[in-house]
């Protein structure tokens, strides 16, 4: 396939990929469709069918109009995201307009540049792993396209040159003096050239990749990497999570990755902690029970949340703890997930822009940040663990208004809230709860709660997500129907039922949504938490008097009681088999996220040691902070009265400047000499004068001066003399002529004048002697010197005679 045919398809691929990447970044695939349709249409209509093409002026006018329209929109909004979206679309429109012009190498190149700029805009929006793969593919295709474009450009150049020559030759206005046609050479590849070319391309691509990776990891960074420009108001999202027991027939499992979780023993990141049981990654508590027809709904408190409801996490001394690092997939939800109870790792160790929202019982990103970026979010927390290597199953209750318990006496408002129940709706459930409660002596809430939890795991219930074969009583409340009749359901049913049972016994409880467990990634050693790991469980308030000693001693409860985690859902076998391919893909995604998109100063320091970073001094010039710090330090040093740097630094700078000046002047002189090859500088003029003066006394001495003091090639005195005589007679040596060529041309001209025929011989004689002196580094013997002198004399005489005649 010829270059001319291949290039449009490569351009189409490049444009499509850049449009796709832009679309992926912006979350809007309009640019992709516009780009692909536009370029395809131009290929068909303009290049193939040749129906029409936009004249340059029309294309320029359209481009200006589109630009004005896009830019004018910038004045109506200050949203930088909208500006970026506008710029991205503008690039695609301009690109499409370009493709409807007559194709030339320059037009193709401009399309490539616009495509590259689309990638830039797409990159600013940050691309996920899939985007990263496309990005690499794009770069490879763009590289090949550039190579083909370069070949195309060369061919076009020759073609245009030939056409211009033909046009000029056929022109009736001006008769051309000559016509030139470049013979187009087909790329007749010699043996082995193609193989070497492929090898060279592979080396080139590998080298480029290696170089860019090296540069990428050595470029100095500060602590925060760019997370993308998308921002959304915090109040608008994250708090409308609810659990509604509707009658879905089938719930499909989703393997969409939600987050990666990694644990390690604090102080040693290499020492991974594997929890003995699946960790419960708590999201938020749904404590508000609502009834919607025959459906039970759990929602977050509907009232306004005040800034005072957000409190920073406590920093408590704990004996045993692990560091939990969670990387959330891009989301604008401020809700964070964590094993309980979360603590700071240490002040200043890592980002601390999250806090505890009391009414929601949820960890959120810090409220002071009014907007939240839609990007990967990484956070670390300190999680206490038990000596058995398990996370806490309960955590201390902290009241909103100080040290009070969640009891009817001390906090009646919240108690009422957490024990609200319409007993009429759930007769069976209430009845069974009463039976269980009655079996426990001393009304120990802890024991009642655990027995109720155990009730669900006694084998009477089964876990299912598929209701298609289950007969359900639409007249009953869905939870009551579940509990009393079919006894098949998923975690939300179990959690709802248990929470309602607890409430029926006066035990404050709430539904909690979050994630439980995840797939262990063998490559990265972390948990891949997917949508299918979403879970609901129950938190029951345990009065301090009901808390066991164990709970108290291990810090899981305190004097105001504890929230006890209860998970009534029996285990299921619904999880898909996780293949190593899935693991590898997840691992690759996490690598892309951690080491490309989210590479920060600390990660960089881990990858590239500090020494190596210091070695990359040349790259430090790109670090503005480094410049600022270095200059600041230098200023301080210079201001120090007794410091050696006070004198050494200026001295060094002066020396370097002087050195630079000398080098500059030398280079300048060399350049000037090169430029003025045929001219004489002032120094050369003086030397020539001396040589000529000496020549009157002794040609040998004159020649020695010229040779030893680096005279010009034509400053061999007798040759110079000959040149002067000939110049007077009208023969000028052209710069491009060699000395012998000049002699031959003179001889040839002279032979046309019969009387001067002899002069040809004279010039040749002198030139031969000149070659001997100049290039043979030889000296003329007496006889040769005499011959040259005679020849010069004769030459002068004959030329004078000719001039007189």
């Amino acid at each position: 396939m010829s270059v001319e045919r291949t290039l449009p398809f490569l351009i189409l691929a490049t444009v499509a990929l850049s449009g796709l990447l832009l679309g992926m970044g912006q979350g809007d695939f309009e640019p992709f469709f516009v780009a692909v349709l536009g370029v395809s249409a131009s290929m068909i209509l303009v290049d193939w069918l040749k129906w029409f093409r936009l004249p340059n002026w029309v294309a320029n006018l359209l481009a200006v109009l589109v630009t004005i329209l896009t830019v004018s929109n910038f004045y109506f909004t200050n949203d930088s995201v909208r500006h970026l979206l506008g710029v991205g679309k503008l690039l695609v429109y301009l690109q499409t307009i370009l493709t409807f012009q007559k194709k030339s190498a320059r037009v193709y190149w401009q399309v490539m540049v616009l495509s590259l700029l689309q990638i830039v805009v797409g990159a600013v929006f940050n691309l996920g792993f899939e985007g990263g793969v496309l990005f690499i593919i794009y770069m490879m295709i763009a590289g090949v396209t550039m190579m083909v474009l370069h070949l195309y450009q060369d061919r076009q150049l020759v073609k245009l040159q030939n056409e211009a020559s033909l046009r000029l030759s056929n022109s009736r206005r001006r008769a051309p003096e000559y016509a030139v046609w470049t013979i187009s050479t087909k790329p007749a590849l010699q043996r082995g050239v193609l193989r070497r070319m492929v090898v060279a391309f592979l080396i080139f691509a590998s080298g480029a990749l290696f170089f860019s990776v090296l540069l990428f990891y050595f470029l100095p960074r500060d602590n925060t990497s760019w997370a993308g420009p998308k921002e959304m108001p915090m109040q608008a999202t994250g708090f409308d999570e609810k659990v509604s027991m509707n009658h879905s027939d089938l719930i499909l499992l989703s393997s969409k990755l939600q987050m990666n979780v990694r644990y390690w023993y604090s102080g040693d990141e290499q020492k991974t902690f594997q929890p003995s049981r699946d960790p419960y990654l708590r999201g938020m508590a749904l404590s508000n029970l609502e009834i919607d027809g025959n459906r039970t709904k759990w929602v977050a408190p509907p009232y306004q949340i005040y800034p005072s409801d957000f409190r920073p996490l406590k920093m408590e001394a704990t004996d045993r703890w692990v560091t939990q690092e969670i990387v959330l997939e891009p989301t604008d939800d401020p809700l964070l997930y964590t094993a309980m109870p979360p603590r700071f790792t240490s002040v200043g160790e890592f980002l601390t822009d999250y806090e505890w929202c009391w009414p929601l019982g949820a960890l959120t990103r810090q409220r002071s940040a009014e907007k939240i970026t839609v990007s990967h979010f990484r956070y670390r927390l300190k999680i206490p663990i038990l000596s058995s290597g398990e996370f806490f199953s309960a955590y201390p209750y902290v009241a909103r208004d100080g040290l009070v318990c969640l009891t009817e006496e001390q906090d009646p408002g919240n108690y009422k809230w957490y024990t609200y129940l319409d007993r009429e709706r759930y007769p069976t459930l209430v009845q069974v709860a009463g039976e269980i409660g009655s079996r426990v002596t001393g009304n120990n809430h802890n024991s009642i709660a655990r027995q109720m939890e155990a009730y669900f795991k006694s084998g009477q219930f089964s876990y299912t997500l598929d209701y298609r074969d289950i007969d359900r009583d639409e007249a009953l409340d869905s939870v009551e129907d579940f509990f009393a009749n079919h006894r098949s359901g998923h975690c939300e049913y179990y959690a709802s039922a248990l929470a309602l049972m607890l409430r029926s016994q006066g035990i404050p409880s709430r539904l909690v949504v979050g994630y439980r467990g995840g797939d262990i990634n063998g490559f990265g050693g972390h948990l891949d938490v997917e949508a299918q790991h979403a879970h609901a469980w129950v938190e029951a308030y345990i009065r301090p008097e009901d808390c066991s000693n164990y709970l108290m001693q291990t810090g899981q409860a305190n004097e105001t009681g504890a929230w006890l985690r209860l998970d009534p859902t029996p285990s299921s076998d619904t999880n898909d088999q996780v293949t190593s391919a899935d693991e590898a893909l997840d691992f690759a995604k996490s690598l892309w996220r951690d080491y490309v998109l989210g590479l920060q100063a600390d990660t960089q320091t881990r990858i590239v040691s500090a020494d190596q970073l210091n070695l990359s001094g040349a790259l430090r010039v790109l670090d503005l902070d480094w410049w600022q710090n270095s200059l600041g330090r230098l200023r301080e040093d210079l201001q120090e009265p007794n410091g050696w740097k006070r004198y050494a630094v200026p001295g060094f700078i002066i020396i370097m400047l002087a050195l630079g000046l000398v080098i500059y002047l030398r280079e300048r002189a060399v350049r000037q000499n090169r430029r003025k090859k045929t001219e004489y500088g002032s120094l050369r003029g003086v030397r020539r004068g001396i040589a000529r003066a000496l020549n009157l006394v002794s040609p040998k001495l004159s020649g020695w001066v010229v040779r030893e003091f680096g005279g010009r090639a034509d400053e061999v005195p007798f040759y110079r003399q000959m040149l002067e005589y000939l110049e007077q007679a009208g023969f000028h040596k052209l710069p491009q002529q060699t000395h012998r060529e000049f002699a031959e041309s003179v001889a040839h001209s002279l032979t046309k004048n019969e009387p001067l025929n002899r002069l040809g011989t004279l010039t040749k004689t002198i030139t031969d002697s000149y070659y001997l002196v100049r290039f043979g580094h030889g000296k003329l013997d007496d006889q040769q010197t005499k011959t040259v002198e005679i020849a010069l004399h004769d030459l002068q005489e004959l030329l004078q005679q000719t001039a007189n005649s």
């Binding site: 190149w109 540049v113 590259l116 830039v120 990159a123 600013v124 940050n126 691309l127 990005f135 590289g143 550039m146 190579m147 370069h150 070949l151 060369d154 150049l157 020759v158 040159q161 030939n162 033909l166 030759s169 056929n170 051309p176 003096e177 000559y178 016509a179 030139v180 046609w181 013979i183 187009s184 050479t185 790329p187 590849l189 010699q190 082995g192 050239v193 070319m197 060279a200 391309f201 080139f204 480029a208 990749l209 170089f211 860019s212 990776v213 090296l214 540069l215 990428f216 925060t224 990497s225 760019w226 490309v596 998109l597 790109l622 670090d623 491009q736 001209s749 046309k752 004048n753 019969e754």
Partner: protein, 394 residues
């Protein structure tokens, strides 16, 4: 061997690429956008490698221009380039030769670009371009440069060759009619007949020369003929030289202004014809340059064509010297053809009109198209022909 120094230049594409790159690097560093950092790395790499590779492509590469020995106006010729890659391991890709062409006194020279196919290591390749020059004169080729922007065209490396060549373009060659041959043959026949009558077998042996029509077969020296593969005859001292004498007399006259080029074209055609045959004529050219030659052989023809390339009419054009030199009184019997821009009377205005056997062609009075068909120089047709030919080849 010393190879020319290599230079580097950023192309238009490279400049726009650099601008985008600078923008990306700035954005990447100021906002710490990792993807942009990666992108900038991926963009710097081609830039860097383009520089190194394009420089490498020109390492130990030499190019030599090749020109035909004689160039005539209106006749296409090929300017050839032989490029040699002296490296032993790496081929040369994406080479481009940019030559310059124009009249030697022109202010600007036109550029001609020739693409070079890949050259394998330690190999050479021939490329070239076709050229047609309309007017006679001195032209210049070069300085040329060999460049490469392989592989992506962002940076172009080049070597400048100081191979400036001036070359002469002789007047256009036409086609002689039969009338010219008839005229010269009639002159020769008359001459031959007379000489046969006068020829004596006596006289000292002078030299061997090729046989010409009219020579006595007895004079053939068979041994030498066998050695040369051509008939050779003995030439004695007394033998009269009966070769043709051709004289071009370009005198500055107002009437002849328009006929000069056609006259020169005719002369070039005649000279070219006679230089390859036997009986090399004696030639004299008189104008602002004078050139006299006893035997117009191939070597002399090249020099003669150079004279014809630049000669102009002159008032004192040395005609009499040439006449005396080529047609001395003792050899007036030679067949002489003078093509002149004036009449014989004007030429010998201050001297007695000589009697000579031959013809005086005054271009101001005689129609030269009687003797030859002047060349029709149409560069457009020539280029169209090439274009069609290449199209057919494709």
């Amino acid at each position: 061997m010393k190879y020319p120094r290599r230079h580097t230049r950023i192309t238009y594409e490279g400049l726009s690429f650099m601008s985008v790159l600078a923008f990306i690097i700035l954005g990447a560093i100021i906002r710490q956008v990792n993807l942009l950092m990666l992108l900038s790395g991926l963009m710097i790499a081609p830039f860097f490698f383009n520089w190194r590779i394009s420089m490498k492509m020109l390492e130990r590469v030499i190019g030599v221009r090749r020109l035909p020995r004689m160039i005539f106006a209106g006749s296409p010729f090929t300017v050839g380039w032989r490029l040699k890659n002296s490296r032993t391991r790496i081929p040369s890709w994406g080479l481009r030769v940019v030559d310059r062409i124009g009249r030697v006194d022109a202010k600007y020279l036109d550029r001609v670009t020739v693409l070079v196919p890949p050259i394998a290591p330690a190999a050479e390749t021939d490329v070239g371009y076709q050229c047609l020059l309309v007017k006679r004169g001195i032209y210049q080729l070069g300085p040329a440069q060999i460049s490469s922007a392989f592989p992506v065209g962002l940076i172009r490396s080049k070597i400048k060759l100081q191979n400036v060549e001036t070359f002469y373009v002789a007047p256009a060659i036409g086609r002689l009619h039969r009338s010219w041959d008839q005229m010269t043959q009639s002159l020769s026949r008359g001459e031959a007949k007379k000489q046969r009558q006068q020829r004596s077998e006596t006289g000292d042996f002078y030299a061997l020369r090729p046989w010409v029509t009219g020579d006595n077969p007895r004079q053939v020296h068979w041994r030498s003929s066998a050695r040369h593969g051509d008939l050779m005859v003995r030439q004695n001292e007394q033998q009269q030289d009966r070769r043709l004498v051709l004289i071009l007399d370009l005198a500055e006259t107002s009437q002849a202004e328009g006929d000069i080029e056609m006259t020169l074209s005719l002369m070039a055609t005649i000279f070219k014809k006679y230089s390859v045959g036997r009986g090399q004529p004696a030639v004299g050219v008189c104008g602002d340059q004078q050139w006299v030659c006893e035997h117009l052989n191939g070597i002399a023809l090249a020099a003669l064509m150079e004279v014809l390339a630049t000669i102009q009419p002159a008032e004192s054009n040395g005609f009499h010297d040439a006449w005396e030199s080529l047609v001395p009184a003792s050899a007036r019997a030679r067949s002489v053809i003078v093509i002149s821009t004036r009449s014989q009377e004007q030429a010998f205005a201050e001297a007695d009109l000589p009697t000579f056997r031959g013809k005086w062609i005054d271009v101001t009075r005689e129609d030269l198209t009687r003797y030859f068909q002047p060349p029709s120089i149409k560069p457009g047709e020539f280029l169209n022909q090439i274009a069609k030919q290449l199209e057919n080849d494709a």
